[in-house]
């Protein structure tokens, strides 16, 4: 086995601090947005009593899903013994932690009473998926830190496989928990489906890998390290596969719904006449997030262009945000069926009508701030510690095909 | 939720402020207050105990009231406010969390934040 050396991110100080300053600036704007929302109350946001989870949840759930998926690269190396993935593992673990922290920050700062976070840590209702998730998320971070330790401390290398397997099982549980937030809601037509758990797991593969590809490519490019075609093409093909698998689950979900008459109204809302949600589904989730990236990734010429592959990864992320928008906000906007066979002709609380929601600036700023926070922590991480291999050039890699 | 944190340095600064403030604030409500409590012989428990444990008493009562519906009590926040709210020159109740009033006087002094009144009324009904 070839010896792999790792080194801190060595870009010039001005570029490094410039990058940190830009990210910190975005985070500061998000901070101001949070202060504004918490000081005035949520009436300054787009949310209301009918769409209670808005844009911050779109970003938060997306980041949490992407976080568990970012760990996948490490898992392929240590759990499934693909040797060429092993040098990629430390960054994968770091990104898993930072994306999760970014997502949780957004989630927590959008609470009605973020000052009571301590209550969430001291009072538990174990029938609630949210309560499980508090353990799944914090546990995930601890386990991935341990996993990273076994990778980066030579004396601990013998435990990497065990730690990696545990982390892999845990991340499957974590994404199942995240998907079940929606899967277990019996009240709303669009939710209450077991497929949400596997759907979120497959989505996490795609979103996490898209983030990983972009961060890896960017970090290597800025530091003039070589990223060989062989490993890059493998990652690219994997992304194509994950995007296709996600699309398969989305089709399976909608086909199942279309078979049952009770879901027809919801399906026609998402697929045909739901206005912005229909648009988000077809244009955002299906075309931008799935078909176009697949076209690029599997195209004989475009698939070899780094620029095109990066563009595909960005589209997967944008499509992922659109998918979350459709699931989270579209799922709430569709009116709840309380009285089957009846039409609501008048209501003092907007029953029977599509709930209105338009994202407000502070909410979008908070969500983008979460992404910036994740990237900031990643940048500091790779600068301070040896997360990145010196080179991923084809001749430096272990190229056995196992 | 009742939070308390005592920092000796902060307390020292606040002591200085407490000495300086009455001169600015005008009426000293602590000595010239006119709430029902100023005329009462005693509180629901001896004063030292109240000073030390009132938060536990209120919190215990809060859980009993919310979860078990027990409202007959002398430990309710409602009772505290009813007894300890002062009345201004115009004959109106002054909120107990207004500067220098019963709750905020001490809470500011010991720098313990007070979350009751983000939901509860601060004057007797």
């Amino acid at each position: 086995m070839k010896k792999m050396h790792y080194r801190e991110w060595g870009i010039e100080s001005t570029r490094y601090w410039g990058l940190l300053a830009i990210l910190a600036g975005i985070i500061a704007v998000a901070g101001l947005a949070v202060l504004h929302m918490e000081h005035s109350g949520h009436w300054v946001t787009g949310m209301n009593n009918h769409v209670v989870w808005g844009t911050p949840h779109v970003f938060a759930v997306f980041l949490i899903v992407a976080a568990s998926g970012a760990l996948n690269i490490a898992s392929i190396g240590s759990v499934f013994n693909k040797k060429c993935y092993k040098p990629l593992a430390p960054l994968s673990g770091l990104l898993a932690i930072t994306l999760l922290v970014g997502g949780l920050l957004v989630l927590v700062l959008d609470l009605g009473r973020p000052d009571r976070l301590i209550v969430a840590m001291t009072h538990y209702n174990f029938k609630s998926i949210f309560a499980w998730n508090i353990y799944l998320y914090t546990g995930f971070m601890v386990i991935v830190v341990l996993y990273l330790w076994t990778m980066m401390e030579r004396k601990m290398n013998g435990y990497t496989k065990a730690a990696g397997t545990f982390a892999f099982v845990w991340r499957l549980a974590l994404t199942t928990g995240t998907g079940s937030i929606f899967g277990f809601i019996v009240a709303r037509q669009g939710y209450d489906a077991a497929i949400y758990a596997p759907l979120f797991i497959v989505m996490s593969f795609a979103f996490g890998l898209a983030f990983y590809l972009l961060v890896l490519g960017f970090a290597f490019d800025w530091d003039n390290r070589e990223l060989g075609d062989r490993i890059y093409m493998r990652l690219k093909n994997l992304l194509g596969l994950f995007v296709a698998a996600t699309l398969y689950f989305v089709i399976a979900y909608h086909l199942t719904n279309l078979y049952a008459t009770e879901n027809h109204e919801y399906e026609s809302f998402i697929l045909l006449n739901g206005g912005v949600y229909t648009m988000m589904f077809w244009v955002g989730q299906v075309f931008i997030g799935s078909l176009i990236p697949m076209g690029i990734l599997y195209h004989p010429a475009l698939g070899k262009s780094r620029g095109a592959v990066n563009a595909a990864a960005i589209l997967v992320i944008l499509g992922g945000l659109a998918a979350m928008y459709v699931i989270i906000i579209g799922g709430q906007a569709f009116p709840m069926a309380m009285f089957p066979g009846k039409e609501v002709i008048e209501s003092g609380f907007f029953d029977g009508t599509v709930a209105s929601y338009s994202p407000s600036l502070p909410e979008v700023a908070l969500g983008i701030g979460g992404i910036a926070a994740a990237l900031l922590m990643t940048a500091i991480g790779i600068r301070m510690l040896r997360f990145l291999p010196e080179s991923l050039a084809d001749d430096k890699m272990d190229n056995r095909q196992d | 939720m009742l939070k308390s944190c005592y920092t000796s340095k902060l307390a020292a600064v606040l002591v200085l402020l407490m000495i300086a403030l009455p001169a600015i604030a005008g009426k000293n409500w602590r000595s010239e207050g006119n709430s029902k409590a100023t005329k009462a012989e005693a509180c629901v428990a001896p004063v030292p105990e109240m000073r030390r444990n009132h938060m536990e008493m209120i919190q215990h009562q809060r859980d009993l009231t919310v979860h078990q519906g027990i409202r007959k009590t002398d430990n309710s926040l409602h009772g505290c406010i009813d007894c300890h709210a002062n009345i201004d020159d115009a004959g109106k109740h002054i909120p107990v969390n207004a500067p220098g009033q019963f709750c905020s006087g001490c809470h500011n002094y010991v720098a313990a934040s007070l979350d009751c009144f983000s939901c509860h009324a601060t004057v007797p009904k």
Binding site: S40, G41, G112, A187, G348 | I70, G79
Partner: protein, 257 residues
């Protein structure tokens, strides 16, 4: 405790408005009276009682909003004002609403009915299941409440409620109601006028208002007591629970939908 403090305690108690019309009773004596001036509750609620309601949609009058207005007044929503700078249309969807009237038309037959909707006080409330901190809970006597001391404002209960019964407080509350304390950032919903129940009354504000209008569309009481008005009415008339397919066993029944 000394004799002096004991006297003072009584003195203090007599000053409480809720205790204004009561005589001193010996410790441990439980007074379970149903009159309007009854003693505030001194013992924990039990599951012997299950509060519930029967709404007769046939009696719910067109163009009447007495129940909604009474609820607003009882629970302080009438003194709740729009934040400065808010958009009136948005605010309409953001302000708290515990009870609303809904007018329905049967798609096949064209039959129109009107009814009030509020928290249905389920036996198995989804809001309680999903609440991460346990702030959403069902009291032993069947009243579903939010303990706003432990509510963190995550709104998962609002996602999970099949009746859209809950409201989130989107703004700073200037005038805090004494009977229904309210503050920014927490979730709340109909309490079956729990402050009345705990002080010995057995009616809700909406029921009283409906009766005052002469409609008597709402009957409230103890579902477990066969002699109660609501239990008798439920036995006599056919009724249904909304979304009974979910098997949540709500405490609110409807007839004539």
């Amino acid at each position: 405790m000394t004799e002096k403090t004991n006297l003072a305690r009584r003195n203090f108690l007599s000053k409480l408005p809720v205790a204004a019309a009561t005589a001193t009773i010996a410790p441990g004596v439980v007074l379970q009276s149903t009159s309007a001036n009854a003693e505030p509750r001194s013992e924990a609620v039990t599951s012997k009682v299950r509060w519930g309601m029967l709404v007769n949609a046939n009696k719910c009058a067109d163009d009447c909003s007495a129940c909604v207005d009474a609820c607003d007044k009882e629970n302080g929503m009438d003194i709740h004002s729009m934040p400065e700078g808010a958009d009136a249309e948005n605010w309409d969807q953001q302000k708290p609403r515990w009870i609303r009237t809904v007018k329905l038309k049967d798609i096949q037959t064209g039959h129109v009915s009107k009814l009030p909707m509020m928290c249905q006080h389920c036996e198995h409330p989804p809001c309680e299941d999903v609440c991460p901190t346990g702030a959403s809970f069902r009291r032993a006597d069947g009243v579903v409440l939010v303990d706003r001391h432990t509510c963190i404002g995550c709104r998962y209960c609002m996602m999970a409620c099949p009746y859209k019964a809950r409201s989130f407080i989107h703004e700073n509350v200037d005038i805090k109601p004494t009977l229904a304390p309210r503050g920014k950032g927490c979730v709340e919903s109909c309490t079956f006028c729990v402050h009345r129940l705990d002080n010995g009354q057995t009616t809700t504000a909406c029921q009283d208002a409906c009766a005052n209008e002469g409609h008597h569309a709402i009957v409230f009481g103890d579902l477990n007591d066969p002699q109660s008005k609501v239990a008798k009415a439920l036995k006599k008339y056919p009724s249904q629970q909304v979304r009974d397919d979910l098997k949540l066993n709500p405490g609110v029944y409807y007839s004539g939908i």
